[in-house]
Symmetry: C2
Subunit: 405 residues, 2 copies
């Protein structure tokens, strides 16, 4: 028999297009268990506990819950805040005051770390608490899980966006033949790599993909771009915002400025401006760029059906695990063997996840460091849901030239 | 009886999400008329005539034509090239050589000008040619038409994108409360204004909309942003890439550099970087921006159903008008009176369209110059097709605070 008590659930870190599915999964599963009393939502993550801003989620209507599954970004509000040692003590006090016995934190590796520390503190004080992390990140960089909820939808957006901007670039021809798209991902190239899912034929865009795992020089990019421009008359490139040189040095305008966020992460971006200028200067070709920015992680119209369902299931699984007595764990996604894609959920120790970043393995990046392998495509393709809708190109049969005066 | 002869059709200027619908409209209507022989597509606009790169469009399959209706960007290829006087002579020679009697040019005001000049030249030489312009522009700045094919889909993208990035911004709370989105439109604010279609409630984003028709100072933007930030804790702003000061002076980084394109248009952009920095400096608030760039005009997944159909109909109407003996005209869209949106096509003189730009009327911009009016919303709402899918926010009823140690 599980302990009776209340649930607290929160969302942390950057939003995704499907993160509310995990929240709805937690709420709906929790409602099915008699041991659970209140279902409380943390307003803006840990801040909601520290400030005692807790939302009564049992009062949300069925219609709201249904629509939340289509609604991008964190409905509870999120936060970027480094929790201090005193904060942890305070969190435990609040949990005691509200008789919280079940804690679910939907987030990435910083959130896994927070969940882990809360779990350890409660255990050391003999307070029974079941703390489970629910994975979420468009960066897909959590350890110990096949992939992360949020990634499939962001990947679908990036593949869609690069395909559409590539059709635009091809149409423009000589007017502006080179296009860069800056893709999110500070250190891991998973999302940038997903641009490759736009490719059907070898000459399709993206022609080049640069991921932070494989350093590259500006000169190499220029050479690569020239190769494709000479071949096709245009070239479309996906570039990670965190792209670096061969020795890890920053290539971007802002990367060098040393601006950091609350977790000490460098604030990146600016690489596509550098590359645009480099191409213009080196070849006199008009280069252009797109910076879809936050749309990559919060574009509701392009939820992946697979991602949406998995985000929901990890929420439900977290509640079931907690009620089964687990704590200090994260729900993982496990890919089932077999020709058709299927996944199930698993449980992994939080200390193997907290503060780790899972980079793209070498087997997923081509030797030149400017594209991905078939192995990556096989890995990523099922995660974006249905194939992208079919587009057409003209067969384009030219009629013979006729003599004209 | 119409003259027997061949058709030439081309696409010019910036692509749109639905411009291929106009091409398919021309092809399918042309196929229904016995007077028409070859249906030739210009590879990359006028360049395709000058270089005699003409595509046999009768050889394109039905499946290709059907899929083209979903495919963004100009399938024939487009061009940005200022046609010279000698070019016009050459165009007429090629038309004679290929027995071209029907010329359809899908584009904006530069293309209308080209079509007009070809019409005048043919007439002055006694060569029977029926030259009709087919309207297209995401900028919605063509005169003599209620609106322009391409605008509705771009407007749907902008409204969708600002809503999604606004949910993201609201979720982030104090972490990064100010968001700017840079929207296309050199001189006319139509597309930036469309961001307002994301708004359901008065406090919904976008909270501020800045269009180039109404100059504004950086100081005014800062004050406006502060008002909304104080009220809601965040603020989401749509900004035209062509935003200018009250006296028409450039506010952006690049606008002052004097870089111009082949038509002498200034190359703009950079305004959101300026505003981001201004907000950071003035208030110490983290501002962020999105620059969706070319996605705004070529995002196939967000075609407006209305726009898609109208783009198709203007293509068909152009062929019918030419066969009825018209020339030197552009197809227009006419909004029918009545409570439910309906449009028909009309014909307007090209000299009233060529090289004119239609700005947002004063009645569509609010007095403060930082938003739109109900009249604009009534004008624009039907053009994006179905309403945006419903999202949910939590009712968010807080539970009473409990004393904790």
């Amino acid at each position: 028999m599980s302990i009776k008590g209340n649930v607290v659930v929160g969302q942390s870190g950057g939003p995704t297009a499907v993160i509310n599915n995990s929240l709805v999964g937690v709420i709906q599963e929790a409602k099915e268990h008699a041991e659970i009393g209140d279902i409380l939502g943390m307003s803006h993550g840990i801040a909601g506990i520290l400030n005692q801003e807790l939302i009564d989620l049992r009062q949300e209507s069925d219609q709201t819950l249904a629509r939340l599954r289509n609604t991008p970004a964190s409905a509870l509000g999120t936060v970027r805040y480094k929790v201090t040692d005193e904060d942890y003590e305070r969190i435990l006090e609040v949990f005691r005051a509200y008789d919280v016995r079940y804690f679910f934190y939907i987030g990435g590796n910083d959130s896994a770390d927070t969940t882990h520390k809360i779990h350890l503190l409660a255990a050391s004080r003999g307070y029974e608490l079941h703390a489970i992390a629910v994975p979420k990140t468009v960066d897909n960089d959590l350890a110990e899980t096949d992939h992360c909820p949020g990634y499939g939808s962001a990947a679908r957006f990036v593949a869609t966006a690069i395909r559409d901007t590539a059709y635009d670039t091809a149409a423009m021809g000589a007017s502006s033949p080179i296009k860069f798209m800056e893709v999110m991902g500070r250190h891991a190239g998973w999302l940038t790599a997903a641009a490759a899912l736009a490719k059907e034929h070898p000459d399709d865009a993206p022609h080049l993909i640069y991921m932070p795992e494989h350093g590259v020089t500006i000169e190499q990019v220029l050479e690569d771009v020239k190769y494709w421009y000479d071949r096709l008359g245009h070239c479309v490139v996906a570039v990670s915002e965190g792209l670096r040189g061969p020795n890890g040095e920053s290539l971007s305008v802002r990367g060098g400025a040393g601006e950091v966020d609350a977790f000490g992460h460098e604030r990146l971006g600016g690489i596509v401006e550098v590359l645009e200028e480099a191409v213009n200067e080196a070849y006199g070709l008009r280069a252009r760029y797109d910076k879809p920015g936050y749309l990559q992680r919060s574009f509701g119209s392009l939820q992946s059906s697979v991602d949406r369902q998995e985000a929901y299931e990890v929420g439900r699984a977290a509640v079931r695990a907690a009620l089964a007595g687990e704590s200090g764990k994260m729900i993982s996604l496990i890919r089932e063997p077999g020709p058709r894609y299927r996944s199930t959920t698993g449980l992994v120790e939080l200390d193997k996840v907290a503060n780790h970043e899972r980079m793209m393995p070498t087997a997923f990046i081509n030797e030149a460091g400017n594209g991905v392998t078939e192995a990556f495509l096989a890995y990523a393709r099922p995660l974006i849901g249905e194939p992208l809708p079919p587009y057409a190109r003209l067969a384009g049969k030219l009629v013979p030239k006729r003599p004209s005066k």
